[in-house]
């Protein structure tokens, strides 16, 4: 549809503008990468624990842990590099009136408010590290790296990122009622770390909740399970359907949130 092509073209312009903007603040760019490396170190620590303990985790070897965490880091590239900072900035946008101005433009408000900003430094750090970790892990497991498996991995990774976007959008739609949305973003952010360990680590109830109710595990565990050839049939189906379901839910929450904003803000 024309609208989709328009938004895609505008997204490319936005990426370009973001990169140019970021280059203006070299200190921020460099320290931002340092910060992301810090977060990366914490994620890798979980792998260090796995290797240091020298035992399997619910049937998953340390090498498989490496694939999991690598996938997690790659998914973080989308999360932190593409959409998370927009959620953190949402209340600033509302407070300084830019949100109002965006509302009057003939472009999807949800698109602009949630995807306007991106961070190329974070994206590159995480995607590089994540892909490297995943490939090392997979190759150590006697490399099952055929093209189909890789394609499917990428597919489920993208589906997972779409679900991640939707999951983070839903609580942010509350920003129109609650004054400081950074707090919500902070809590949501901590939920992201549930993917630092393979979902198998949680008990059956936790896994069910995290797969079907609040599908965090769809984001990272599903792609990893696929690459490792350990995905069940149900998970395969749900992994492909979940993005559609949750994007629709997020859209609903967002439009309701806008409605509340226009009706009750001061």
């Amino acid at each position: 549809m024309r609208e989709i092509r328009k938004h895609f073209r505008i997204y490319l312009s936005l990426v370009r503008m973001n990169v140019m903007s970021q280059m203006e603040y070299r200190a921020n760019f460099v320290t931002g990468i340092l910060m992301e490396l810090g977060y990366l170190a914490v994620k890798i620590l979980y792998v260090v624990v796995a290797f240091g303990a020298g035992r399997s985790i619910a049937g998953f070897t340390p090498d498989e842990m490496l694939v999991f965490v690598g996938t997690f880091v790659t998914a973080t590239a989308f999360y932190a590099g593409m959409y998370m900072m927009n959620f953190f900035q949402l209340s600033t946008l509302v407070k300084d009136g830019s949100f109002d101005t965006l509302m009057t433009k003939p472009i999807s408000l949800q698109f602009m408010a949630t995807l306007r900003r991106c961070d190329i430094g974070i994206f590159l750090v995480d995607s590089t590290a994540g892909i490297a970790m995943t490939l090392v892990g997979l190759s150590r497991l006697s490399g099952q790296l055929d093209a189909w498996r890789l394609l499917g991995y990428v597919f489920f990774l993208l589906c997972g990122s779409a679900v991640g976007y939707a999951l983070y959008l839903i609580p942010q739609s509350l920003v129109f009622r609650v004054v400081d949305a950074r707090a919500i973003a902070g809590v949501s952010d901590s939920f992201w770390d549930f993917n630092n360990v393979p979902m198998i680590v949680y008990d059956r109830l936790g896994q069910a909740l995290g797969s079907y109710v609040l599908p965090m595990f769809v984001i990272t565990s599903f792609p990893s399970l696929f690459a490792l050839g350990r995905m069940t049939g149900a998970q395969l189906v749900w992994g492909a359907l979940a993005p559609a379901v949750f994007l629709a839910l997020a859209r609903f929450a967002w439009t309701r949130g806008i409605r509340n904003y226009s009706s009750s803000s001061g």
Partner: protein, 275 residues
């Protein structure tokens, strides 16, 4: 003397009121502590589970039994939130905006002002967190038979007080970087993550292995999170506890000297450059 106390009390009250105003924020930050506890508990449960290559119930990983590790997870995460700072950004703002000038003219010591405000904000949080910790310990004892002796609790309070002071000093020094760096960007956040990790706030320092782990144990950071946690969990007692508190106090003294020195150097530069 009362007058001198008065202005610091004012800063204390300011910090307290500020903390109360942002109560929603505070509750949310507390909720943010839930995730790591859940994640790590699940992880360790799997690692200590029989049939994963483990041994008996006395099984030890990185020097902890299962029960001990769970205790560490809960207490360390709470302590980590307790000793957390944030004033380094305000400190940097004062340096950058030249707002420091205000304080240099007033008869109030900037360091004292910041510390009093920190203490004020922390009192509000600690009261609340203390309750959370108590509840968490009750749950822990029901689940794993955790218990803390009275001496351990007392030692914990002492270690925690030192941890507050020490963490304040560490991040005070971090904040002082603002005197030399034109833009700090995300440096403070990067420093915070590294420091928390080095303090044992994510995992106990022993997971780093014998060489790195013992290197980290020499640094002052472990006294902000790992040490108070170990004290409460009863892993450090008797003479070790006394030595530990002394070491924490010694580090505090050293960092205080360092802080004053950096402050003086920074102030010279600040005044010379006319901010």
């Amino acid at each position: 003397m009362a007058e001198a106390g008065g202005k610091y009390l004012g800063s204390f009250s300011l910090g307290l009121r500020g903390a109360l105003e942002y109560r929603a924020n505070f509750v949310f930050s507390l909720l943010g502590a839930v995730a790591p506890v859940v994640i790590q508990t699940a992880l360790w449960t799997c690692l200590y589970a029989p049939g994963s290559g483990a041994g008996s119930s006395g099984d030890r990983l990185f020097g902890f039994t299962y029960a001990q590790m769970l205790g560490y997870v809960v207490v360390a995460n709470i302590v980590s939130r307790l000793v957390r700072t944030g004033f380094e950004y305000d400190l940097n703002d004062d340096i950058k905006s030249g707002g420091l000038d205000r304080f240099l003219v007033k008869p109030i010591d900037y360091f004292g002002f910041r510390m009093a405000q920190f203490a004020g904000a922390k009192s509000a949080e600690t009261a609340f967190m203390g309750l959370t910790l108590a509840i968490a310990l009750v749950v822990l004892s029901a689940a794993t038979g955790f218990s803390a002796s009275h001496l351990a609790a007392l030692g914990f309070v002492a270690a925690l007080a030192l941890a507050f002071f020490l963490n304040f000093l560490v991040f005070w020094c971090v904040g002082l970087l603002g005197f030399w760096l034109a833009e700090i960007g995300f440096l403070f956040e990067a420093a915070r993550i590294v420091i928390i990790t080095a303090s044992g706030g994510i995992f106990p320092l022993s997971v780093f292995g014998p060489s790195v782990g013992s290197a980290l144990a020499v640094l002052p950071f472990r006294f902000t999170i790992q040490f108070p946690t170990d004290v409460l969990c009863g892993r450090v007692a008797g003479a070790d506890l006394a030595w530990g508190l002394a070491a924490a106090a010694a580090w505090s003294g050293l960092l205080l000297v360092l802080a004053r020195a950096i402050w003086a150097a920074g102030l010279r530069r600040f005044v010379a450059l006319g901010s």
